[in-house]
């Protein structure tokens, strides 16, 4: 019962019937009820909170009827007409104060006001001071009138909701920083929001709606508008980023979306929304340039560093060739070390160059076999004979170049850091709903968990480079490559327990088979 009432209270608010003007709203209906049903008193009551209150009425009811209307309280509990022919002979009413004392009610007929959602809003009811009855015809009229009250309430609710929406819409129109406008098929502006209108000089603003306004733009700008408008009319949607010089002289970069729609008279129109992206586009431009500069710098640096390095290498080998017999054993060893360092530097430069190029020419995802791809990587790596590589025979759809980079790096690490001359590397792939999970497991010396973070840092190696050659860029390259595909890499390992590197690679849609 409690919940029913709460429901009804909400309903009453929705209908906006607690307004002052509601008092007189149903006077005509109540009057008609008394006359057509031939009963002296009538009222419309509504449920408000846990009470009933009287809205329109004919005849004078004591004001306490608002609070203690035992008749209507009965009516709202049922779905049909409640008729009490003689209140003195009804257990529910015979002791009621309005029956015993003035106005001495002897007859009651009430019909609940029920909306389309089966919520009871109140009653329409008739009273008499003598016992009475409704004939069949009068019952029908009462039901019809009750229906009319409900329809009026429904209309009122719709109006109320609409006015709220209009208020909200006005607020949006006024405050939306995007330029919003609608055009008809003659390119005349039908609607424009405040932001759009404020682009025009004040004295021009009443010449915007109903006009094309194209004449105030340069021919070139006006032409692009028309091209986009036509495209939207033809294809339903047009999107563009354009630099536009506004009527007030300001030039901004706009992201403009135009969408075709039909107005309520089935006339085809377009809705335009233009977002100011000047700052964003400027930032993107700046970022592109600085990225380009950086790429160029890395390329030139590593390229130009290679030339003198190779010159040193050649000079050293010439000295060895020419004067090998007069050099001491120590000096020859030192020459060897120089050459070794030159090779290391070359590797660093190569890796640096590769690192800067990651993601540049990856190619599209394609169907490939993991086993074949991994074996191809192994061939290029020229692995020692004692190593067995076991790979799942599974087809994947991934870009081949970055996958090869990742596999090559992980396999080469597993072999390079192995403490024995032979070993077992297992490459396993789980085909999950949204990801491929490729793991490379070795039976090598394992990695101390304390160092797990460190191995992904650029130029970090866990052993001196004189013991294990490496640039410290391998895993950084793997990480950067995966980041390009929103993937990641994780390591699971402990000292003496081998290591498992697990790559999570989100699936991409193959663009062409």
């Amino acid at each position: 019962m409690q919940t029913d009432q709460e429901l009804s209270i909400q309903t009453v608010e929705k209908y906006n019937i607690l307004d002052a003007d509601i008092d007189k709203l149903f006077d005509d209906i109540v009057m008609l009820a008394t006359e057509s049903c031939d009963k002296p008193f009538a009222m419309v009551s509504f449920i408000d909170a846990d009470k009933l209150w009287v809205s329109s009425q004919v005849g004078l009811f004591p004001s306490e009827m608002d609070q203690k209307n035992v008749f209507c309280e009965q009516t709202v509990k049922q779905t049909g007409l409640l008729e009490i022919y003689d209140t003195l002979f009804d257990d529910r009413t015979k002791l009621n104060e309005f029956v015993i004392k003035a106005p001495n009610i002897r007859y009651y007929a009430g019909i609940p006001l029920i909306n389309s959602e089966k919520q009871t809003l109140g009653t329409l009811c008739l009273f008499d001071t003598k016992p009475n009855v409704l004939d069949k015809h009068q019952k029908s009229i009462l039901k019809l009138l009750a229906k009319d009250v409900v329809s009026q309430l429904e209309l009122r609710r719709k109006n109320f909701e609409l006015s709220k929406l209009i208020e909200l819409n006005q607020l949006i129109t006024k405050n939306n920083p995007d330029l919003v406008f609608a055009k008809d098929s003659d390119y005349k502006i039908l609607h424009a929001n405040t932001a759009f209108l404020s682009l025009f000089p004040e004295k021009m603003r009443d010449k915007v709606i109903g006009y094309t306004t194209l004449e105030i733009y340069s021919d070139a700008v006006a032409a692009t508008f028309l091209v986009q408008d036509k495209l939207a009319f033809e294809q339903g949607k047009a999107e563009t980023i354009e630099k536009i010089t506004f009527p007030n002289g300001e030039t901004r970069t706009l992201f403009i979306t135009k969408t075709r729609f039909e107005d309520n008279k089935d006339k085809v129109c377009i809705l335009g929304v233009a977002r100011d992206v000047t700052e964003r586009e400027a930032l993107i431009e700046k970022l592109k340039k600085s990225n380009g500069d950086l790429d160029e710098f890395v390329y030139i640096a590593s390229h130009d560093l290679k030339a003198p390095l190779n010159a040193i290498k050649r000079l050293v080998s010439w000295i060895e060739e020419d004067d090998c017999e007069i050099l001491s054993g120590d000096s020859l060893e030192h020459f060897g070390m120089i050459k070794n360092r030159i090779n290391r530097m070359n590797m660093l430069l190569k890796d640096l160059l590769d690192y800067s190029r990651i993601g540049k020419n990856d190619g599209l995802p394609q169907k490939l076999n993991l086993q074949e791809t991994a074996m191809h990587c192994c061939e290029l790596l020229d692995l020692p004979e004692g190593f067995i590589i076991e790979v799942d025979d599974i087809d994947l759809i991934l870009p081949v170049i970055p996958l090869e980079l990742v596999l090559t790096s992980l396999i080469s690490n597993a072999v390079k850091h192995h403490f024995k001359k032979s070993g077992h590397i297992r490459i396993h792939c789980k085909n999950l709903a949204h990801n491929y999970q490729i793991s490379v497991t070795d039976d090598g010396p394992g990695i101390d968990p304390k160092l797990h973070k460190k191995i992904f840092i650029k130029f970090q190696t866990l052993k001196p480079r004189d013991e294990v050659e490496g640039t410290g860029l391998g895993l950084s390259m793997v990480e950067k490559t995966l980041a390009n595909y929103s993937g990641n890499i994780a390591v699971k390992s402990d000292i003496g327990e081998g290591a498992t590197f697990t790559v999570t690679w989100p699936k991409l849609k193959a663009s062409s088979e």
Binding site: H303, K306, A307, A311, R314, L315, W318
Partner: protein, 140 residues
């Protein structure tokens, strides 16, 4: 037509890097190739040497691309526009693996394009055999 002796063909080396130049002269010495080598350090010096008449025919040009003042491709354009020397045989020896450089070089009718890191001793082998059998244009 009389064919000159193979070792009379001059190698006109246009190369800014001393060590790259040395590398060629060393290899010639090792292989006991006695052909004269004349070196210019950039395109401008090369044009001056040609104009001075110090590069006597027959000769072939081994040209680097990246050079200060006037680079290899600029030099090639000037050379092909020069009525006296437009028929010169030019080989490119550059570090550049750039597709455009290779394309532009052949557009200027080079006889071959070699990349420094890749040639090692093969270029000397080629020259050794080439000088024996090649017929080069004479001055008219």
């Amino acid at each position: 037509m009389k064919k000159p002796k193979p070792n009379k063909i001059t190698l006109f080396l246009i190369e800014d890097d001393d060590i790259d130049a040395m590398s060629i002269t060393r290899k010639f010495k090792h292989r006991e190739i006695t052909n004269p080598i004349i070196r210019a350090k950039d395109g401008i010096e090369a044009l001056e040497l040609l104009a001075s008449g110090r590069i006597s025919r027959p000769f072939i040009i081994l040209l680097d691309l990246q050079m200060p003042r006037m680079n290899g491709l600029e030099f090639l354009t000037k050379l092909r526009a020069d009525n006296d020397y437009k028929n010169s045989v030019v080989f490119i020896l550059s570090t550049s693996q750039n597709e455009n450089d290779i394309f532009d070089s052949y557009e200027s009718n080079v006889a071959g394009y070699f990349i420094k890191d890749e040639v090692n001793n093969a270029l000397i082998d080629i020259f050794d055999g080439y000088r024996d059998i090649v017929h080069l244009p004479q001055a008219r």
